[in-house]
């Protein structure tokens, strides 16, 4: 007779067999049996957060920087509802995450018991799948299945709701099944014919562009290698979405920078004028496409994605290849090499590169620097220059600072850039940095933040201090919700309704209160020295960088305009005005 284990023991057995080393959580009544069991499992380290949303974002940061699923443990009721934002964020950005929530005992479910909520009901639309375990005999299978669902196909969050009595009940433990029966949810059956069609399009293209996305990162480091080889073999220009940054080296000459609403002039114009668009692991998000009717009007479009429902969802494509990016691009590369015989269509696209160079000469990320006040773009550039020789991990909050970070911080490796793209969650960056630092204790981890965003999850500084996680919170403090202010300036006649933050806290005192180092900078001449001080300090830092409050984030595709009609920076002559109905629909 095999030994019977309690539900709590089974949870940890599963976590051990799934090779989980860290969980992010917060205890409460309905998960106490699991917390009681924690002490018996030294290989699993629990990181105590200060709010369950922080646990979720930390797990996301952990997952995005390692490729492993992030694991979250929360209690019933408010514990579960607090983690909903992070689950939704992970769902939108395809981050693998396993959330275990406690639930009131089965006999109390549906009675409005203390700290009861319909957790599986609430999280159903923001998880890939969720389970309410009402039978202890199903617990091990559900746990293993949860990890499988979270990590296979297009990754995403899952949730397992475990009532308290199930955590006490006893059953046999079942190991994960070896067989890879994926219930038809993982797709990797592209055909040689599709690859040949793609090669054919590549050979014929005169104005091609590669548009890569987060799918390349999710497919693993090998995908980035394959992508680099593909770009090298074809000689094609490449642009990237926000989530895809780092898959291709940001300082390479073939890289046109980020595309989309705040993308570069060359990337967006190339997208508009191209005759072949190869989308690798991106999803034609609305911040990328701009006006759908005028999106890349003259191109053949190819879409490589692991999720069949991404194909033709927004943009009709001419060739769809459903599969894992690594596998598809590897196959394409091998075919190109095999067919090659020194033949290449690089001469065909020489003209195209000339055109791209002309767009590049606009220098669309340019800004007017100042000696009196720190320009936020300048701050990010200096931060990049002073940290680029370290293997730096960067997280962000959401807003202007996020876009400036994406524009001016150049990433050379995948999994180094963690940002909330799909959901756009202010308050993501600080807890995400906690998660990244837990996974990479020796690396430099910086949260490029805005003062409004960072206040939403500031409490996680306590977590950083508790575990001695030397995260650097680099706040571009402009006293406004900058992106809101920018839109109000451009779209709402400068009516800055509720976007100015009065009564901001003194971040120096705040750092002091949390027990970390505070650094303040408001003079451009001292910036480098202070950034260096932050980088050199062995411990968590809050860096309060006072920047010009009126700076706007350019370039920008305004509403009502396709890719080729961007507003450039203050140097741009043609002031594009946004009027009428467009305003309501941005």
């Amino acid at each position: 007779m095999p030994k019977l284990l309690t539900g709590a023991e089974i949870v940890f057995k599963c976590l051990e067999d799934q090779k989980v080393n860290h969980i992010f959580g917060y205890p409460g009544g309905a998960v106490l049996p699991i917390y009681d069991e924690l002490k018996n499992h030294p290989s699993i380290k629990h990181i105590l957060v200060r709010h369950e949303q922080g646990a979720g974002h930390a797990a996301e940061g952990y997952a995005r920087s390692t490729g492993k699923p992030g694991v979250v443990l929360v209690t019933s009721g408010p514990g579960a509802t607090n983690v909903v934002t992070a689950l939704t964020d992970a769902y939108m950005d395809s981050v693998p995450m396993v959330c275990i929530s406690g639930q009131v005992p089965t006999h109390l479910i549906g009675t409005d018991a203390f700290q009861e909520c319909d957790t599986t009901g609430i999280t159903r639309p923001c998880t890939k799948h969720n389970w309410l375990v009402k039978d202890i005999n199903e617990l091990s299978d559900v746990m293993h299945e949860a990890f499988k669902v979270a990590t296979t196909g297009r990754p995403g969050p899952v949730l397992i709701d475990i009532p308290k009595d199930i955590q006490f009940a006893k059953a046999k433990y079942k190991k994960p099944k070896k067989d890879k029966k994926l219930n038809g949810k993982s797709h990797n059956k592209f055909s040689a014919n599709e690859i040949d069609q793609l090669i054919n399009l590549i050979n014929k293209a005169k104005k091609p562009i590669i548009y890569s996305g987060g799918g390349v990162i999710n497919s693993g480091p090998k995908a980035s290698e394959a992508l680099r080889k593909f770009v090298e073999l074809t000689g094609f220009p490449i642009t990237s979405t926000l989530q895809g940054l780092g898959a291709y080296p940001g300082d390479d000459n073939q890289f046109l920078g980020m595309l989309g609403m705040h993308g570069t002039y060359e990337a967006n114009n190339a997208m508009h004028d191209c005759d072949l668009l190869i989308n690798i692991g991106a999803r034609f998000d609305d911040r990328i496409t701009g006006k759908i009717d005028d999106f890349s009007p003259n191109s053949k479009k190819v879409h490589i994605d692991i999720d069949p429902s991404s194909i033709n969802k927004i943009i009709k494509v001419d060739l769809a290849i459903v599969g894992d990016v690594t596998k598809v691009i590897d196959k394409v590369n091998r075919t190109i090499v095999k067919n090659g015989n020194g033949k290449s269509n690089k001469p065909n696209i020489a003209k195209w590169w000339e055109q791209i160079q002309k767009w590049r000469n606009k220098n669309s990320l340019n800004f007017i620097n100042s000696e009196d006040s720190i320009k936020p773009q300048h701050a990010v550039q200096r931060l990049y220059e002073l940290t680029k020789n370290k293997d730096t991990y960067v997280t962000t909050e959401v807003g202007q600072h996020q876009m400036w970070a994406a524009q001016h911080y150049k990433f050379n490796k995948p999994n180094r850039w963690m940002t909330s793209g799909g959901l756009g969650t202010m308050g993501y960056g600080l807890p995400a940095a906690v998660g990244v630092q837990v996974a990479h204790p020796e690396k430099l981890v910086i949260d490029i933040a805005g003062e409004a965003s960072v206040l939403m999850t500031m409490q996680e500084m306590s977590t950083a201090v508790q575990y001695n996680l030397p995260i650097k919170i680099f706040i571009l403090n402009n006293q406004y919700m900058g992106m809101v202010r920018q839109w109000q300036e451009l779209l709402h006649e400068k009516n800055y309704s509720e976007s100015y933050s009065e009564a901001l806290p003194d971040f120096m005192k705040m750092a002091d209160a949390y027990g970390c180092l505070g650094i303040k900078a408001d003079d451009p001449s001292e910036l480098d020295e202070k950034i260096q001080e932050m980088v050199d300090y062995n411990g968590p830092v809050i860096f309060d960088c006072h920047v010009d409050p009126n700076e706007n984030c350019f370039p920008m595709i305004p509403s009502g305009k396709p890719h080729n009609q961007m507003i450039l920076g203050p140097n741009d002559q043609e002031e594009n005005k946004i009027k009428g109905k467009g305003k309501a629909l941005v």
Binding site: T120, G121, R124, P125, K128, H129, L132, V149, N183, G184, K185, D286, G290, K291, I292, D293, D307, P308, S309, I311, N312, K313, K316, I557, P558, S559, G560, K561, P562, K579, G580, K581, G582, A584, L585, V586
Partner: protein, 182 residues
Amino acid sequence: MPKSKSAYSTPSIKQKSDTYIFVVWVDNEAGVLARVVGLFSGRGYNIESLAVAEVDAVKNISRITIVTTGTPQVIDQIRLQLTKLVPVHKVGEFKRDDKDVIFKEMALFKIVGKKNKIEKCLNACKKFNPVVLDETKSSAVIQITALRREIDKMSKKLKPLGLISTSRTGAVAMTRGAKIFN
């Protein structure tokens, strides 16, 4: 209305909407219907009718039949999104005017009135296999099976003859001939 100038408007080339029937095989487990229905409401798809019941007690499989309308692009998305759900095994999809597929709905009519009125009702329903499920001196419950629009027509027709209550199912579907849905 002036043409939208927004960067994020829908394409101006509107495709035509058609009515489709989706047949979805799912694990008969708690919450599965909520997942399917939640997908429709969450993504703004329309549900015209819905029928669901367990069809295989051994394998624990339920069959959900959903009638919906949408452009070809939306219909594609519905199929692909449904297929992504973990408890969904397979998804079939048919145009409502597909000649190779039988669609049927069932309706129960309660008629209150004298014998001759009820006779008239039965007569009117003759084409749709009427079955009298309950009869008293002054009332009857009649069951018919027919297409949605036929039932619509019948309930209109029976109103003046004493129809006081109608209960109807969603459509269910089955292919003609020896073929099955795979």
